[in-house]
């Protein structure tokens, strides 16, 4: 019976162990997850108890059923332990997944917030850019306005320069006119007319004995000598006075030319008239003669023979040619070379006359050739306003002609060609 008792105690202990273990599992993993396993375990235990009572019928050896009971209990324990470890692993995997999920979620959250921040920044930048663009546009408007004002100012400055130039030139010429006029007046006043009358009255007084008076009287003897000297003096005076009056007339003509040359700046209405181009060119050269001479610029003329008259606006043509000769002079002076030369070539062809002014001055770089007729474009360091060629090209167009520039580059001089049609091309704005 001893054996039996030990087996009973062992199976009792195992049974208690199973119960305890079942409680533990239930507590750890919840009744839902372990419920079926425990049910199976207790069902087995119940089966054992039944077999215990059924033992005698099963003819088992004394105490043998106790041993089977203990073995089955141990098997149940082992199964439960296995169940626990499985559950543990399962839980562990579940936890990892959860952690991974949480991590993923966190990362997504972080990235979302980063994206939002980036988005905000982008929006901020877009706003800044928008204000910047608006600012730039405003600045551009301002610059355009300033540019327009500058152009107007330079035009006015140009006009005042023209006015100053006219004043200077006319002032100088007027001075000579004034001096000559005064000289003429002085000489006329000093003319010995009074003394001639005296000599005549002296002779009349001695009309009765004129022969005696002229040969014996100490005054009469000198009279013929005086009269011949007076005659030659009066002759000299006449020559001098004629010369001076001729000088005055040429100076007045010069003033007229200066004024005529500048009239176009004052928007004088154009009138077409018969013009000999070579005469016009000569006028232009005469107006600038002293300046060209002063700067040592030589003029070479190459005029075709038998040039026809053109019907055109003389003042407009004059304005363009004056501007061209001024430019040519500046180009020559700026080049500082020894032999400064401007060649004026007049040719005839295709219903138009061409006046080409070629200088051997500084020349024009290719990139400037396109801009040279632009309003406000100038290369002159001082005094240039950049509307001479601009208005020249416009005026040439108005006349039905054209103004062309050519240069092979810096240092090679330049040629400006004015083409004037033989007849005025009808201008709808003037008819």
């Amino acid at each position: 019976m001893n054996n039996l008792n030990i087996a009973s105690i062992g199976s009792g202990l195992l049974e208690a162990g199973v119960a305890f273990y079942a409680m533990r599992l239930t507590r750890l993993y919840g009744s839902k997850r372990v419920g079926w396993s425990l049910f199976v375990a207790f069902a087995l235990l119940a089966l054992l108890h039944i077999s215990q009572f059924m033992g005698p019928w099963l003819n088992l050896a004394g105490g043998g059923e106790q041993i089977i009971y203990a073995v089955i209990s141990a098997l149940i324990l082992v199964g439960m332990a296995h169940l626990e470890s499985t559950l543990k692993q399962f839980d562990h995997a579940e936890g990892a997944e959860e952690r991974a999920n949480a991590e993923m979620e966190a990362r997504v959250k972080q990235q979302t917030s980063q994206l939002m921040r980036a988005n905000e920044e982008l929006e901020e930048k877009a706003a800044t850019l928008r204000t910047e663009v608006a600012h730039r546009r405003q600045m551009q408007d301002q610059m355009e306005q300033t540019h327009r004002e500058l152009l107007a100012a330079s035009r006015q400055a140009g006009m005042s320069e023209v006015a100053t130039g006219v004043l200077h030139n006319v002032g100088n010429v007027l001075n000579s006119v004034n001096v000559s006029a005064a000289l003429v007046a002085d000489h006329l006043t000093a003319l010995n007319v009074e003394n001639l009358a005296r000599a005549a009255s002296m002779m009349r007084e001695h009309a009765g004995d004129i022969g005696h008076f002229l040969t014996n009287d100490h005054k009469g003897k000198r009279l013929p000598d005086y009269l011949s000297q007076l005659a030659s003096h009066l002759w000299d005076e006449r020559t001098l006075l004629l010369k001076e009056i001729g000088f005055v007339r040429s100076k007045i003509e010069h003033i007229k030319e200066i004024v005529a040359a500048q009239q176009n700046y004052g928007k004088a209405l154009g009138v077409a008239e018969k013009v000999r181009v070579e005469e016009l060119v000569e006028d232009v050269l005469r107006i600038h003669a002293s300046e060209l001479l002063q700067h040592g610029v030589q003029i070479q003329r190459d005029y075709a023979t038998g040039l026809p008259e053109v019907i055109t606006d003389k003042h407009k043509a004059l304005q363009i040619l004056l501007n061209l000769i001024t430019n040519a002079k500046h180009a020559c002076v700026e080049s500082r070379q020894e032999s400064k030369r401007v060649t004026v070539r007049i040719t005839n062809g295709e219903e138009r006359i061409r006046v080409a002014m070629t200088d051997n001055g500084v020349g024009i770089p290719t990139e400037n050739l396109k801009k040279i007729f632009n309003h406000g474009f100038t290369t002159r360091k001082n005094g240039g306003h950049g509307f001479g060629l601009h208005s020249g090209a416009l005026t040439a167009k108005e006349m039905g002609g054209s103004l062309l520039a050519h240069s092979d580059g810096p240092g090679t001089g330049a040629t400006f060609t004015l083409e004037i049609p033989l007849k005025v091309v009808s201008n709808p704005s003037k008819s």
């Binding site: 200077h168 007027l174 001075n175 001096v179 002085d186 000093a190 005086y226 002293s290």
Partner: protein, 183 residues
């Protein structure tokens, strides 16, 4: 040469316009009538015309050239009395700069600035030269009489200025001699 005896005062015209040189010559270099002597003999009541002073006129078209003339005149001890100077003389020095340079070597020279319009205001000129009495402004176009008056008056002023200077130098010399004699 004694300071008061200026037989033919030297005048310098500085202007880039050659026509102006001629203008000054026409005004200043007027000879006397060749018939004067004979007429005075023949006609008792002939009106007497004052003898013209024959000025000697030199002309330069640039400031540099003018300065060269002035230097030479000072070296030759035959200085210019008056200069008529244009304001605008491209491409070289303008009138004011030319006068500044002339006065550095010949401070007694009387200068007349000729201008067709006002390049320099009075204030600008005084700011350059101070209140000088050696400078006058003549507006173009000018009258012959103005030029003659200026030439005569300024030549006289120049001569008197020189005379005063010589007298003072004489006095200083005499004083010096007296002092040495007393000792």
């Amino acid at each position: 040469m004694k300071p008061t005896e200026i037989i033919a005062p030297r005048i310098l015209v500085i202007d880039d316009n050659i026509a102006i040189h001629e203008d000054f010559r026409k005004i200043l270099c007027v000879g006397n009538s060749p018939l004067g002597g004979l007429e005075n003999e023949l006609f008792d009541s002939a009106p007497k015309v004052a003898e013209r002073i024959p000025f000697r006129v030199d002309s330069a078209s640039q400031g540099q050239e003018a300065l060269h003339y002035v230097e030479k005149a000072v070296r030759d001890e035959d200085p210019y009395t008056v200069a008529f100077v244009d304001v605008r003389m491209p491409p070289g020095w303008d009138g004011v700069e030319t006068i500044e340079r002339i006065w550095r070597i010949c401070p007694e020279m009387q200068c007349v600035i000729c201008t067709a319009y006002s390049d320099y205001s009075w204030d600008e000129i005084t700011s350059r030269f101070g209140y000088t009495d050696n400078l006058l402004i003549l507006k173009k176009p000018f009258e012959s009489a103005e030029v003659l008056q200026l030439a005569h008056a300024l030549t006289r002023k120049w001569a008197l200025g020189r005379q005063v200077r010589f007298c003072l130098e004489d006095l200083a010399l005499t004083e010096q001699q007296d002092k040495t004699e007393i000792r």
